[in-house]
Symmetry: C3
Subunit: 420 residues, 3 copies
């Protein structure tokens, strides 16, 4: 008996250890997939803009990941996840370096900061698209740093960090609002302050400035779709117990929403512009992906398809509205994809979330909470972005000179062209 | 003692739960890798065709994944895996949405439909290559839908769905025939009915129409090779127990066959055409991958290498034969790679499968069963594809007008060029 | 009691089995990621060279993976990991095909050979960059074979194979020296013997020959960064027990070093050449990745950042020194990235390794051991490479004719251009 009595605790301990190991592997794999979204964004933004500015957009996408990786580790993570108060974390985890056997949440704390880092970098990289082809490179580096070190972590603290929105019951599973619309609204502020690219609006009419290589743009969207299987299913933060089923369900809802978004955007474009255009179909998939990110764990597969379809339709009208009515020049459609569809998807959680298999019965209450989250985070991101860009404009300057914009940012800002 | 007695069952239960979780994570990772083969196919097909049709081929590859994701979830999965009879499943799993804790096969049922969806989409996307540069886009959408909703699920039911071929002992581990040759033979039917591209055969002689960007073509093949590590090892559907060793062995056999195919095709091209061409070497790797897919779990590493080498050699002669003797215009070689080498690899299981370390001793019996499977599924795919394309040709039209083909499908069918 | 007594051993056995399964899945996923570095290298090398030689560089990158996959399985693995003596393994594992349930190291032996194969292929593929745009294709195939079958396995046996350097306490966790600098020094020997490309040095002055497509170059670097999450964390060879935390920590140190390398190289280039150039920033990230590979498990996050920053700075000066002072023509900077920064990072382990949270206190002893490893492996790689290239030059010829180099290797060596 003695032998059995000593064996059982150690077996139990081993089982708990394996549970942690599985979750840890899952979280790391998800981290790698989300990190891989960075070239996805880079290829989309490079493909949808002009060849003379390709080096600049690549450099921005590349360096914001590098800067965000350092700055979020250095201080951003602590501001977001430090205990602090309802509005702001603290500095207790600056220069994050927990002990070797630190498993705060059922997986290594090192995995946690890596997973959170790639999310912060996603939020930052969205901005470059909306402000492409005319922003000074040194200004970009500064605001990219401020986003990962301050803007994103603060609203992140309100929600995932346990702050006031989290306490209200705000649902944003993987960050339609927390990650994507934050990037989208900062980009909106930037695009407004920058003004349109030269030649974009002639006699008050919007002129299309086609991207130089939709092949790599399409590759980028495929990469993003692939990476989203880390973004959404990974946000379950576990792969065992009840999460075993949940991560798989989230993969399905994510995929259906992306597909629905692509199909709906294609058909909407076909009906409205007489052609099933590649660029809008690609952005439709991204719209579906962004929109399902909030509710991927809360809705049924059919609900996910509905959210994707709605996002795909809204995307087409939003792009047109921002481009032609508001006359805000967003070269890659980032404001519509990430800002508008991020907000939309977060609100739709209040419509399509299910409880025990039936559509959510909480009446307008959840919808109200969702609205509070969307609006408050939206205002925070837009306002801080607006102030930041105004300050940069007044000090360093935000936009390149007319001559540089005409001849291309690559040669003047970076000293080399991309295609030779 | 009481304490121990209650602990043991719960520990046992926990261990079973972890086993399920590991398999589930493995299956999801494999799913994501197979999904990532979609941009692999897109880049290969775009790279091997002309710039004026790039948007069209990208759009086809992109939308068939979107459509397949929805339609296979909606009904295809149920037709393939519903109990039904020996020939056809049923509709019991339409709008698939199992309960949260549904683990029919040792992993989440949600993982199962995701894994099966990406396989269905693979079969569908192969067709676009064989019919590239001349097929109407709206017709493509229709037949892509029919493939994922009917053609692929029905023969899939005969095999993986437990139907008549499965009962005969047909071996096609990950789908050389079930997935790849189905796509290849439908493509053959399509290419025959469409006829060759304008300018392909001049005075009865085949003229090479080189692809516009083999760099992205090569990237696509690398991506496919990478994704195949989900396709084949993932098809073990487990990562624990005896599967622990099997999934690793399948990774090795898959890699050796791909390598063997590339080397053999390069050498064959070098001997026959005096040059080690990139395009045939790339297709040689794909030939090896397609061929090993049926037998990857049943053959030894050396056997896998042999299958890859044979496929790489056959590939070169098959491409030449189809192009110059049969005068069927297959712009990317999809019929040879997926149809011919899929059938070949399935037959070679009957030659190279090992039993207890020695070459398969079942005489001609297994080879006979393999032949029945290859022929019956081949006829099904070719015949249904043939009828489908004939109906589309008679109603909607299958081929674009001469003018659109000459000036490029991108501008006319989609309203935008890819390169600007 | 009888029942409990029989249950406990079987539960313990199941737990051990699951532990093996988790490690095995982890190792396979890492293998796939490292394999995916191959297109990363291919895109970097293709993007940084000229369009007329793109097919050739793609073909080299593609075929060295194919050849390495076969040859390392055939014999290289056995030379590296066979017991043998302190200098050389043996041939006991040629045509590697262990039994189905062979778990020598806590995971399937099949996983082990796959993981080791992709490392061998990484070492081999580095060489093609340093010798780009002027090397005969058939010579390349021969030396690629010799590298994976002999040069890499022998020095690999000294270290990971348990040979003399391993016994001295040499630390090179994932292969800064064992993999990367081996490739780099062989490339150095090759570039020296080949001589510079035509037009590279005019009147004794180095002339920049810009790459034809930095977009795919940037994509390649992103892919390499992604794949490195298999390379370094995977080299822990386990994901359970203490490794649970270690693999996550290695992911963090790897990411911080890459980021630090990119930022430091950008700033150094900005200060020195007045422009933050894309090409040097990209290579800076690679320099950080190569440098951290030796010490990723031994240093703190802050130490990793420091190693990355140092590597990023050194990279810029090394590229300039090799290009302009030594006048050795390395089209993609492979000697600086993999040779110099591989050696540098291995030495820095002796500076930044921590023990119980404080900087390594072993004085100069570890630094001495690291130096012995760096120098002995460096000499081995350079000398064998030098002899190999001299022999090839004297027999088959190593460099293409002037006419082929001027008109492009694609058409003459491979019979087809890449862009049409």
């Amino acid at each position: 008996m003695e032998e059995i009595a000593t064996t059982i605790p150690s077996v139990t301990e081993a089982v708990v250890g394996l549970d942690v190991s599985i979750n840890n592997v899952w979280l790391l794999v998800a981290t790698f997939l989300v990190m891989f979204m960075q070239p996805g964004f880079a290829m989309v933004e490079a493909g949808f803009t002009r060849a003379k500015n390709t080096g600049n957009i690549l450099m921005k996408n590349f360096m914001d990941y590098a800067i965000g990786s350092v700055s979020y580790w250095l201080i951003g993570y602590s501001i977001m996840y430090g205990t602090g108060n309802a509005l702001f974390g603290d500095f207790s985890m600056a220069f994050f370096n927990p002990g070797e056997d630190s498993y705060g949440a059922g997986y290594s704390d090192f995995s946690d900061i890596m997973f959170q880092t790639v999310f912060a970098a996603t939020s930052a990289t969205i901005v470059s698209g909306a402000m492409a082809e005319r922003t000074k490179f040194n200004a970009y580096l500064v605001f990219s740093l401020v986003i990962t070190v301050l803007i994103y972590p603060v609203s992140g603290h309100w929600t995932w960090g346990g702050g006031w929105l989290s306490k209200m019951g705000f649902i944003d599973f993987a960050g339609s609002t927390i990650v994507h619309s934050v990037g989208g609204w900062i980009g909106l502020a930037g695009a407004m302050i920058l003004g349109p690219r030269l030649g974009k609006y002639v006699d008050g009419k919007a002129k299309a400035i086609p991207g130089h290589n939709l092949t790599i743009g399409a590759l980028g969207v495929f990469i993003l779709w692939f990476g989203w299987f880390g973004f959404n299913p990974g946000s379950e933060l576990s792969a065992t117990g009840g999460s075993t089923s949940n991560i798989a369900k989230v993969a399905l809802t994510t995929n259906l929403a992306a597909a629905g978004g692509a199909i709906a955007a294609m058909l909407t474009a076909w009906a409205r512009y007489k052609r099933p255009t590649l660029s809008l179909s690609l952005n439709g998939a991204l719209a579906g992906l962004v929109a399902i990110t909030a509710g991927c764990a809360a809705v049924s597969p059919l609900g996910a398809l509905a959210i994707g379809v709605i996002a795909g339709i809204v995307l087409v009208f939003s792009v047109e509205f921002i481009d032609q009515t508001l006359k805000i020049d967003d070269p890659v459609g980032a404001i519509s994809v990430h800002g508008v569809c991020g907000a939309l998807g977060t609100l739709l959680v209040g419509v399509f979330a299910t409880d025990g298999g039936v559509l959510y019965g909480g009446g307008f209450k959840q919808l109200g909470v969702q609205t509070v989250g969307v609006v408050s985070i939206g205002l925070w991101a837009f306002a801080t972005g607006f102030i930041l860009f105004k300050v940069l404009k007044a000090t360093n300057g935000l936009r390149v000179s007319k001559r540089i914009e005409e001849e291309g940012l690559d040669v003047y800002e970076h000293g080399e062209g991309v295609y030779n």
